[in-house]
Amino acid sequence: MSEREGLYKLTILQAGELLDRHEVASVDLANACLNRIEKKNKEINAFITVDKEAALESAAAADKRIKSGKRLGVLDGVPLGIKDVLSQKGVRTTAGSRILENYISPFDATVVSVLKKAGAVILGKTNMDEFAMGSSTESSYFGPTKNPWDLERVPGGSSGGSAAAVAADMCLGALGSDTGGSIRQPAAYCGIVGLKPTYGAVSRYGLLAMASSLDQVGPMTKDVADAEIIFSIISGKDSMDSTSSNYEYKKLDGDNLVENLKGKKIGIPKEFFGLGLKDNVRKAVENAINDFKKAGAEIIDISLPHTSYALATYYIIMPAEVSSNLARFDGIRYGLSEEGRNLIDGYLETRAKGFGNEVKRRIMLGTYVLSAGYYDAYYKKAQKVRTLVKADYDRAWEKVDVLLTPVTPSLPFKIGEKTSDPLTMYLEDVMTVPINIAGVPALVMPCGMSNGLPVGLQLIGKSFEENKIFQIAKGYEMLRGKIGGE
C-alpha cells in the first residue's frame, strides 16, 4: 500500500506509461493523490475544494477504458488540480473570493471540458489570490497557501495553490492562469515548471476574467515534458473565445537531447539583470547561462529598452480591465448578495463585504484611469507604450531563438512580509509582466537552489513558438539534472 501511495511522486508521462502497461490503475493514482491531499492540505492549504467522489468516479471510468484497450490519450486517468479561477460544472468556483464563496458554475470552462474529454481526473480546485490579484496567495478569502519548501514562506501567486499542490505531490499536474506572472512566479517559488502560453493560444472561455487582454491559462507541472503534454491538449482555437487563435501545437523532433541546445541562440536581455535582482538569484541564473554555453548554445547580449515601462503600463491596463470585468459581481444574479436600503446601497454592501482589499484597490485604480479626463493620459498612453514593449520583442527574434531571464528578483518571501506594502508586492511582477504585455509565451523552470529554496529561470519565445521553448527547456532540464529533492 505504501508503495501504491508513492504513486503521487510520478510525473504525468511516467504515470501514463504505467497506466498503458496496466501496471497501475487510475483509481490508485487518484487515491494516492487524495491521501496525499488529506495529509498535506491542512498545513499547505493548496486546495479550496476537493471533490473526492467525482475524482474516483472519473478514475474508475478511465480504468474501464484502459482495461478495454481504449485509453483516450496521455492524460486519460491522470489526476490533476485546477486553479479555482476556472469554471467547472456543478463545482464551486470561487476565484478565492468571498463574493463567490458559494457560487456553483453551471458550465465547464473550455480547458476543463477539454481535459475531461481527454480523460483527465480532476481532483479539485486550487487556492489562489482573490480573483488572481496578488503574488503570494495571501489575498485568498480561504487563507494563504504555504510554500512546501518552507511553510513560513509564500508559494508565490496568484496560482500559489496549483504550484504548491504540484510541488507537494498532491496532484501530478495542474492548470494555472497568468495575467502578469501568476503561473511563472509561483512555479519559480515552488521549484516546478510553468508555462504562460502565447496570448490566444489557449481558450479563456470559463476563466474568470481578471484582465482580458493579458490573461492566459497554462500548465504547471513537475517537468517540461508534462507541461508540453498539457499544453498540446489545451491549446487551439475555441469558437467561444473570439481572441483565441487558429493554432495547432506541433512538437519539434529530437526530444530530451542536450544536443538540441547546440547552436541555439539564447538572448540575455540586460534590463532583466538590473531591476533589484538579488545576488543569490543572479548566481543561479548565471550558472544556468554557463550550462547553456557549455552545451554549445550561443549566448547573445540583447537589449529590450522598454522593459522598465512595462510594470507601470501593466498597472494601468490591468486595473482598468479589472474594474470593468468585476462589475458583474453585483449581488443580483449570483454570489454574495447583501440587502441594502435601496439599489445603490445593496451594491455597496455586497461589494464591500464580498471583495478583499487588493481587489478593491485595483477596482478603484481602474475606475480612476478610465474616468473622463484621465483616459488619454493613462489608458491610451499605456496602450501606446504596450506597442513599444511588443516591438522590443519583435526585434529580438531577428537575433535570437529564445530569451533567458530570471523570474523574480529574490527568493520566496515570508508570509506577511509584503502584505502591508502593495508596491513592493507589485514589484514581484517586474520580470514577468513584460511578457504578458508583449503577449509572447514564456516558460519557467527550476535552475538551482539557494538557502534550501528553489530558483527559477524564464525562457521567453516568439508568439506561437512554444515548441521551440519546450525543446530548449527539455535540453536544459536534462543537462541540469535533478535539483533540490525532498
Partner: protein, 468 residues
C-alpha cells in the same frame, strides 16, 4: 423675438436576427415566460465571453448603405460601464468612437436630414415592478438582443419632420427586413433631443431629452408641445432646465422625469474580449448586392410611371400593395399604371388574386367592356375566389349591355313613373331623392348604366317639369 427649435433624434431598433448579439440564445425578447431565452453569456456569468453575430453586423452595414452613410473600414467594440440590475455584466458592449456607419442622410418630405452615425450594441434585460411590492424582477430574455442605434444631426425643426424621419427609418428597416420596428413594443425607440434658441443664434439652447415615445404621433405631438413650452419660457425671460422629460399621451403634454445632474461617466474603453471589425471591399460589395429597392427609389419609379404622388406613397409605405402593383403592371404591360394604382390603393384587393387576373379585370374596364360599378362587383367576387378568371366571372354575371342611349332613357322614364313620391321630393329640392332614383336605375340595369349620365338625364327631366 422669434425662436427656432433645434432637434436631433436618437433611435434604437432591435434587429430580428435568429440569435442574440453575442451568444446563441434565441432572439425572442417578448417570450411570455421570463428568463427563458438565456444562457451563461447573456446572463453575464463569470468566465463567459462574447462572440459576434455576423448577421447583425451585415444588417447594420446594410442599413448604413441604405441611408447614404460612409462605412468604417476599421470598426471596433467598446465597453460602456454602468451599474443597473438589467445590465448583467455591469457594462454594455457598444461602439464608441468607430461606429460601423457614419455621415449619412435621409431625405424626408424634401428635407435632407443628416445622420451622424449608426452603431451596433446589445440590448439590456427588462425590469418588472410588481404592483404594491417593494422589489423588482428582472427578465433577461431581452438581454443581449442586437440593437442598432442611429443618431441624427440636429437638422430637424418641427414635430412633423421628426415623426416623418422616424417613419421613413421604420420603412427602410422593414424594407431591408432587419427589424420589426413596432414602436409600441419597444422594437423601435425614439428619443428626442430638443432645444430652442433665438432665430439665427449661433449657439444652442439648453437641451431637453424626451423619452418613452411609443408612436409617431407621440413623437410629433411631444416635439411640438416642447417647442411651445420652451419658447414660452424663454419669452418670459425664464431658463430651460436640462432634464429628461416623458410624454403623457392622455394629457398631451411632456413632464419632467429626472433632472440631468452631472453627466454620466461611462468610462468607455475598447472591448478586450472582441477583435476589431475590419470591413473589406469584398464584404461591402456582397452586402450592396443584396440591398432591395429602397423606399425613395420606389417612389421615384412610381412617379416616373405616372402614378400620382399620394398613390405612390401608399404603394411604397405598404410594401405588399406596391409589390402587387409591380406584378400586375409587369405582366400586363398594356395597362395604364395610374389606374391600376388607383384600383389597388382605393379598393379592397385580395393580393391572392393572380396578378394576371387582376390585369384582365383592368383590361375589361379599360376596353369599356364593363363599367366601374361592374368592375367593383367583379373585384368583390375575385376577392372571394382569387383563382377564378374575371372574364369567366363577367360571363356568369349575365350582364346585358345597354343598346345605346334610347334604352337607358326608356328605363329612366319607367323608373320616374313608378316612383312619383321620389320625383316630388326631387322637385322640392331633396338631393337624396335623386340618389335614390339613380340607384333604382342602376338596379334595373344591374349596374350597367353609367351612373353619371343617368343622374344628368334624371335631373334634366325633372327640371324640365315634364311629369308625363
Amino acid at each position: 423675438m422669434k425662436y427656432e427649435a433645434v432637434i436631433g433624434l436618437e433611435i434604437h431598433a432591435e434587429l430580428n436576427t435568429e440569435s442574440k448579439m453575442f451568444c446563441s440564445s434565441k432572439n425572442d425578447p417578448f417570450h411570455s415566460e421570463p428568463n427563458k431565452n438565456i444562457c451563461p453569456v447573456c446572463m453575464g456569468l463569470p468566465g463567459t465571453l462574447p462572440v459576434m453575430n455576423r448577421k447583425a453586423l451585415d444588417w447594420v452595414i446594410m442599413s448604413g448603405l441604405a441611408m447614404n452613410c460612409q462605412i468604417n473600414k476599421f470598426s471596433k467594440w467598446d465597453r460602456k460601464n454602468y451599474y443597473y440590475p438589467d445590465l448583467p455584466k455591469g457594462y454594455q458592449i457598444s461602439q464608441y468612437d468607430l461606429p460601423l456607419a457614419y455621415k449619412g442622410f435621409l431625405e424626408v418630405g424634401g428635407k435632407k436630414i443628416g445622420i451622424t452615425r449608426i452603431h451596433l450594441e446589445e440590448d439590456t434585460g427588462k425590469l418588472i415592478h410588481p404592483k404594491g411590492e417593494d422589489y423588482s424582477l428582472v427578465d433577461f430574455n431581452r438581454s443581449g438582443v442586437p440593437l442598432m442605434e442611429l443618431v441624427t444631426e440636429p437638422d430637424i425643426t418641427t414635430g412633423l419632420q421628426a415623426a416623418n424621419f422616424a417613419q421613413e427609418l421604420q420603412l427602410i428597416l422593414r424594407t431591408l427586413g432587419i427589424s420589426k420596428t413596432n414602436m409600441e413594443k419597444g422594437e423601435m425607440r425614439v428619443e428626442v433631443n430638443i432645444s430652442v434658441r433665438e432665430m439665427g443664434a449661433q449657439s444652442f439652447g439648453t437641451k431637453v431629452e424626451i423619452k418613452n415615445l411609443n408612436s409617431f404621433m407621440a413623437v410629433e405631438k411631444s416635439v411640438d408641445f416642447e417647442i411651445h413650452r420652451q419658447t414660452e419660457i424663454l419669452q418670459k425671460g425664464g431658463k430651460i432646465v436640462q432634464e429628461t422629460r416623458g410624454w403623457n399621451e392622455d394629457k398631451r403634454l411632456t413632464f419632467s422625469q429626472r433632472a440631468k445632474e452631472t453627466a454620466m461617466d461611462y468610462r468607455y474603453f475598447p472591448e478586450p474580449d472582441l477583435p476589431p471589425v475590419e470591413i473589406s471591399q469584398e464584404w461591402l460589395s456582397q452586402i450592396k448586392s443584396i440591398i432591395p429597392e429602397l423606399p425613395a427609389e420606389r417612389r421615384t419609379r412610381y412617379k416616373n410611371m405616372g402614378v400620382p404622388a399620394n398613390y405612390a406613397e401608399v404603394l411604397t409605405s405598404i410594401g405588399i400593395s406596391g409589390d402587387y402593383f409591380d406584378k400586375v403592371v409587369r405582366i400586363c404591360k398594356a395597362l395604364n399604371a395610374r389606374s391600376v394604382a388607383n384600383w389597388i390603393v382605393q379598393e379592397e384587393v385580395n393580393f391572392q388574386i393572380k396578378p394576371e387576373f387582376f390585369g384582365d379585370l383592368m383590361q375589361l374596364i379599360d376596353d369599356k367592356k364593363i363599367n366601374v360599378t361592374i368592375g367593383r362587383e367583379v373585384l368583390k367576387r375575385l376577392n372571394s375566389s382569387p383563382e377564378k378568371s374575371p372574364i369567366k366571372i363577367v360571363e356568369e354575371m349575365d350582364i346585358r349591355t345597354l343598346n345605346g342611349a334610347n334604352e337607358l332613357i326608356e328605363i329612366i322614364d319607367r323608373i320616374l313613373k313608378t316612383n312619383s313620391q321620389a320625383v316630388n321630393d326631387c322637385k322640392k329640392g331633396k338631393d337624396m331623392a335623386i340618389g335614390y332614383l339613380v340607384g333604382q336605375v342602376m338596379k334595373e340595369t344591374r349596374g350597367q348604366a353609367d351612373s353619371i349620365k343617368t343622374r344628368e338625364i334624371i335631373v334634366s327631366k325633372i327640371a324640365s317639369g315634364r311629369d308625363d
